[in-house]
Each structure stands twice: as C-alpha cells, then as structure tokens.
Symmetry: C2
Subunit: 435 residues, 2 copies
C-alpha cells in the first residue's frame, strides 16, 4: 500500500503542475501495481471491500448529495438540457440504489479462478483453462455519476484495477463517490490504485488513457456513438465497443398473431432510447394485411410514427414513405420503419444489409425457419419468439452488465463479470518432458 500512496502523491504533484500526461502515467503505474495485488485477492477480500464501500457511501450520503447539488447547479448555469440534468441528478433513492448495487455485486459468484475443460492428455499432463482478471481496465463515460460506482464494483469483483474517467459535468459528484471508494479500499487493506477516478476535466486525460498499453489492458467507452468511434480510432489499447443497435423483428406467416402483436409492440414501445429497441419491423407478405392494421392501431395508442415501404403504405395509408436512411436509422425515438417482405430469406438479406448485428428476432411457429434464422443471422443476440428488449445482461442472468459489445472479438453482446476476465492455460504434470 505504501507504494500506491507514493504513486498517488506523485500523481497529485503532476496534476498541480498541470502536466496531465504525467499525471495519467502516474495513475497508470499505480493501477498496474494494484492489479498485481488484486490478482491475488480472494473473493472474500473483494467482497469485504465492496461491503466497506457500501457502508462508507451510506455514512457519507449527505456529502455525495451536496456535491451532486453543486454539479446540478453548475449544469443549470451552463444550460444543460433536462435529459442530461436528469441523468446527472442523484437523489436519496438513487444513492440507496447504488448502495444496493454494491451489495448485489458482492453477492455474485467470483469468476476468477474457475477452471474449465480440464483433461488428461496422452503425455500424462493435465491441461485446463483458468479464468483470470484482464489487468487494468479504463472506462470512459458521460454524465451519470452512478456509473462510477457500478464500474468500480464490477472491475474490483473481477479482480481488475480500473481508471475511471467520468463526464466533467459530474466532477464534484464523482470526487465525493471516489472518496467513499478509497475509504472502503483502505478499510480492508487494498491499494488506493485499485480504483482511481481521474481528477481532472482536461480532455488530454482521455487521450493519455487510451495511449498507454503498458498500463491499460482494455478501454471500455460508454456513451454516444461519436465518442466511441473517436476513441476506437485513436486508441493504442484494445477497445470493447458498443456502437449502434439497429434491431429488427421479422414476423413470419406462421407466427401466432397474438404473440407477434405483443412482441412487436413491446420491442418498440417498452423503451425508446435503448439499443435493443426494435427500429425496423419486417412482415411476411401473406400475414401483412391481417397484422399490420391491428399493429398500427396499437402503435397509434403509443404515439409511434410509422414509415413504410410501398406495400406497407398500401395497407397503412397513415405511414410516411420510408427512405434508404430509414432502413439504416437507429431512431431511439417513437418512430418505426416497416417493410413487407416475401419470406424469411428476404428478411435475412435486409437484416444483413441494413442491420448493425446487435439484436434481431423472428416470430414464427415454423420449426425449420426458427432453426435457420438462429444459425444464419449474424447478430450478437438472435431471438426466437421473444422481444428484442430481452438482450440485456440482467435478463440473460449475467447478474451485472458493464455494457453491450457490438464487437465480435473477446466479448459479444451483454458483457458481465466474465467479459472482464480472460483465460490462461494451467498445466499439471509430475515431471513430464516433451519427446
């Protein structure tokens, strides 16, 4: 621990001198040293740290709320819009939810140390794969201050040190939360470098964080598409990306109409702003005249604007003409594009051409079509007869979610604790040598 405190002092000196790259390097060194200690920490110690943070946050709730009030006041002065202010705001119940969240993460099984596929080989050695932490994780996020604690708890539980860089509008809140985290770490004797909240709003800190592969093993950006694209472009460290969700539901002719109706309405209207919300509905031609008018009535009740292909417009005169942009759009709004297709092959082709490989669903009673859709659609979640809104770490039973990956390598789809780990090979022998 003394080592970590030395790093912290050094970091503070660089920060005071305005040398942001040197400050970030000092944080990186502290994180790397802490990662070695965390790798060795058993589940009990990590859970005690999470519980200690929860206790410290409960005891400091008023200070966190005071800091947040400061951020809110500054946000209002700076003219932040109401959606942003809502994400920034902490209330007593939101802080309670953060405390609960810490205890829930403590209750999750520890993925570290799990050994899979252990077998004896003809040479007499035993080989298996052991799950181990990645090392140091850098997380770059925007306004919501509760992400600070959520990210810290998931990284800690999975045995990783982390560098957390939140939005500048939440800096006072994040500093207050960081204090609780540091107190919790110290309570159980874990190094301060295990969780470090970047204490400058200077944008150079982000550039430095994504350019030090010697100290950071992976970057997880959480925010809008443009932030994530910029970070991916500039990073010299691997990035787990979450880009867009242009999700589809395809309703086949054999679909149970009541299930199709429920799923299509839920996938669009359950929440508009989430990445697993349906943006384009594909309807098999023979069932379109039965289903589309009824669906349109349901969408009208929710105030959803409809845009459609020619065949859709023939059935639903209220639908605006859908353009090429509509098929590519992630509306994140009460707007839906509808296309009538001739069978599943056309639906799959449309999904392949316009989709973002995030989450796509089929509604069908046909066994063989379900089986083909599942194999042939190349998306991070492929769903048969359920709403796209299920594509979520909690719904999938991961117990937690640090994000949803639209990458194919390492982690794909909802990322829980396991996505923050890797596997190394472990070999047990009794003197074996290669012949």
């Amino acid at each position: 621990m003394s080592g970590s405190y030395t790093f912290q002092d050094e970091a503070q000196r660089h920060l005071a001198a305005g040398d942001v790259p040197a400050y970030m390097q000092a944080l990186g060194r502290a994180a790397r040293a802490a990662a070695v200690e965390l790798r060795r920490a058993d589940a009990g110690l990590k859970n005690r740290a999470l519980d200690a943070m929860a206790a410290r946050l409960a005891a400091s709730k008023h200070r966190v709320l005071e800091a947040n009030a400061l951020d809110m006041q500054r946000g209002k002065e700076n003219g932040l819009d109401s959606a942003l202010l809502d994400r920034l705001a902490l209330t007593d119940s939101r802080v309670e939810a953060m405390i609960d969240g810490l205890r829930q993460v403590a209750a999750l099984p520890d993925p570290v140390g799990e050994i899979d596929e252990m077998t004896y080989r003809p040479s007499g050695i035993q080989v298996g794969k052991m799950r181990v932490p990645l090392g140091v994780i850098g997380i770059i996020y925007e306004s919501r201050p509760n992400v600070t604690l959520e990210a810290a708890s998931l990284c800690l539980k999975s045995g990783n040190a982390c560098l957390l860089r939140g939005g500048s509008e939440a800096s006072a809140s994040n500093a207050a939360i960081s204090n609780c985290i540091q107190e919790g770490l110290a309570d159980v004797g874990l190094p301060a470098g295990a969780v470090q909240v970047v204490a400058t709003t200077d944008r150079a800190a982000v550039g430095a964080m994504i350019s030090m592969p010697e100290y950071v093993d992976v970057i997880i950006p959480r925010g809008g598409k443009s932030l994530i694209e910029r970070i991916s472009r500039e990073a010299k460290v691997p990035v787990i990306k979450h880009l867009d969700g242009v999700c589809h539901v395809y309703i086949d002719t054999t679909a149970d109409p009541s299930k199709a109706l429920a799923i299509a309405v839920n996938a669009k209207t359950h929440r508009y702003g989430t990445c697993n919300t349906m943006e384009t509905l594909l309807v098999d031609a023979p069932i379109a005249d039965l289903l589309l008018p009824e669906l349109a009535r349901a969408y009208a009740q929710h105030g959803v604007e409809l845009r459609g292909c020619e065949r859709t417009q023939a059935l639903l005169p209220q639908a605006v003409e859908a353009t090429e942009e509509d098929w590519q759009a992630e509306y994140l709004a009460p707007i839906l594009a509808i296309k009538v297709v001739d069978g599943m092959d056309e639906a799959i082709e449309h999904i392949e051409q316009y989709g973002s490989h995030h989450t796509d669903a089929i509604v069908t009673q046909d066994y063989s079509l379900a089986r083909r859709f599942m194999a042939e659609v190349d998306s991070s979640s492929v769903i048969v007869n359920a709403s796209t809104r299920f594509a979520d770490g909690f719904e999938y039973g991961l117990g937690a979610e640090i994000g949803i990956s639209t990458d194919k390598l390492h982690a794909r789809g909802p990322v829980g604790l396991k996505g923050l780990t890797t596997q190394k090979y472990v070999v047990f022998g009794d003197g074996q040598v290669r012949q």
Copy 2:
C-alpha cells in the same frame, strides 16, 4: 458463386492495372460475400471441401513441386540464407504432410453451432451462447508455403473466409497451392471468395489488408516480432498477436531433483528456436548448490552457453555474468540465463518484471506453493512440474494451432479452431415480452 467469380474478374482487372488497393478491396468484397455462405455451410460440406482440396493437391503434386523449384532457384539467386531456403523448400514428403494435414482438420469436430450455458430464465425465455465464425480472417505470414494450406483449412473448418498473404519468396508455390484450393472449393460448390491467396508481392497489399475493417474482422500475423509490431501499430482491424516468449522455469527447494533436472534440460534443449523454450532458469538458493553443477554438466553436453547472476557464478565459474539485457532476452539459441533466488516470491517478482507472460513453470513438491504459483503468475500458460515445451496447441489437445496468442483479449495462449470463432447469444421464447 457467380457473384464470387464476378469479384474475381474485377480483382484481376485491378491487379492488371497495378491498382493494389482496389485489388484488395475486390478481394475483401468477395471474402465478405463468401463469409455469408460459409456461415451457413454445415460440417459435412466443409469437410468435403477439405477432402476435395486434398485430392486436388495429391493430383497436382508435381505442379506444386515444380512451382516450388522455381521459388527455390530464385531464392538462391537472391542469396536467401540456408535457414530461409529450408523453410521455403517443399519435398514429396512435405506435400504428403500437407495432404494429411487437410484430412486431419476435416476429422476435427466442428466448433460452429455449439451451444453453451443454455438456461431458463425467470422470465420464461431460454438463453444460451452459440459458437459462430468470426467472418473474414486476414493472415500475413512469411516464407513457409505449407502455411497457406494450413491457414486455409483452419479458417474454412471454422466457417471463416480468409485472405492469405504469404512471403514474396514463396509466390510461385503459393499460386500453385491456391489453384488446388480453388479447385477443391469449386468441386463442392463453395465460392472462390472463401479462400483467397493475395496474388501480388507488392507490399501495399499488406497495408490495404489491415486497413479495411468493413471486409476483414481480424488479422493474424505470423512471423518475426518486428513484422507483428509493425502490423499491430498500423492496423485498423483487430490483431491477434504473437510476440515474444521469455519463458521461465523456477525450481523450488522441495523439487524432486531428478524431475527438476529433466524439466530444466528439456525446456531449454528440446528445441532452441521455439517461443515456449525456457530462456531464464530461476533456482531457489537452498537447492542451487546441489542442482546447478549437475545441470551445468547436462547443458555442457548440449553445448548451451550459461550466463548467471553472482550467486550462480560462485557455483558455476564457467558461467558468464548475466546483464540486465540477459534477463529480458528471448535468445532462441543455445544460451541460458540463470538466477539464484530466495524463495518463490522473488521468482514470481522476477517473472513479473522480466517475463513476457507467455509460459512459465514451477518445479516443486510443495502443494501450497504450486497452488499459489498457478494463481499468481500472469502468463498465457502456467505449468507445474512439466516442461514449458508443452505450451502448444497439439499437446493441449486443440487438434490444430493457428498460432500462440500473447494477447489477453479474445484468445490467449495456443489458438485452435475455437479461437477463430466467437459466441453470440441465442434466445428461445414463446411470446415473452419485457415487463
């Protein structure tokens, strides 16, 4: 298939016009289209393609050997050294081994479609993870022409399209092998774009291949460290890297001396040029005076040069003084650095500081030390009481190996067919919606 042939014609036109970037883009488009077909190919079809390639290669063996003779002649004229010429040379038995290799890959289980961790969730949906191809894989390698067929077969078996860029010195051999591959694909009706050997020695082809994320999902460079570092630095596509192997064996005081001797000799002398060869031996002080003189005699018989710390030199006067560079060296040669340490903690610290996180072993009879070493050493392979030379896809039972990854994300250690796949979530419901 007509689509693929159109792409091939277009590619040829660009190549004839000397427009390498446009040529590579055409190959990329063909690969992406072929990847969609390969995703849908069942194991039977893929295996038939591999068998057809084997038959075509057997029938065209003389043409492949003639082409190779041309490469060899040109190589000699260009003054290639004997090691490089040996890697370039094909003989009747090497071609037979390539044919056998194809049939072995055909006999491996197909990882695609495997579903893991399928469970019912409280919502009533069933969720699991299905193994699926990555898509398009770009492989950049050096002189050995048999890599062309090996890479093609592993990519095909795992359902991926591939772009293969071999060394310019093997261009005639690779073109002849490419013909056999194309004939085999055509025999079973798979698209020509499934396996494409880059038909230009222009270095711009590499730059283009690593800069088209729209067509290539991952790059696997196989070659020297400087090639891999350059590609990783410049790539706009994820890279699965294989950097250096600075591997250690630590002999604890409780080690069985005969096992320690066998392992330390095998790990160094079984082969000098491989990445899993031991480069530094760490010996616990209390066992050093017993073990080191005997070890030194064994190494002397193999002509291994010894470099040691002061305490090693006190026991082995023939050892040269080891410098800071020696602790970091991947010799790939009959040279060994030796350090006497005071216990396992010092050994682990040394490995953490100087190792490359590739493969590290302990020789011990102490249960608790073995358990700690296994948990605390952060290497892609951690071995107890066996030679580091076991860190190999075949020895681990992967059935094949496309390389050894020194990365932590996606694939770590020996990479077999599974490392060329990813997992998507599959969900089965019966009308469920999010509440």
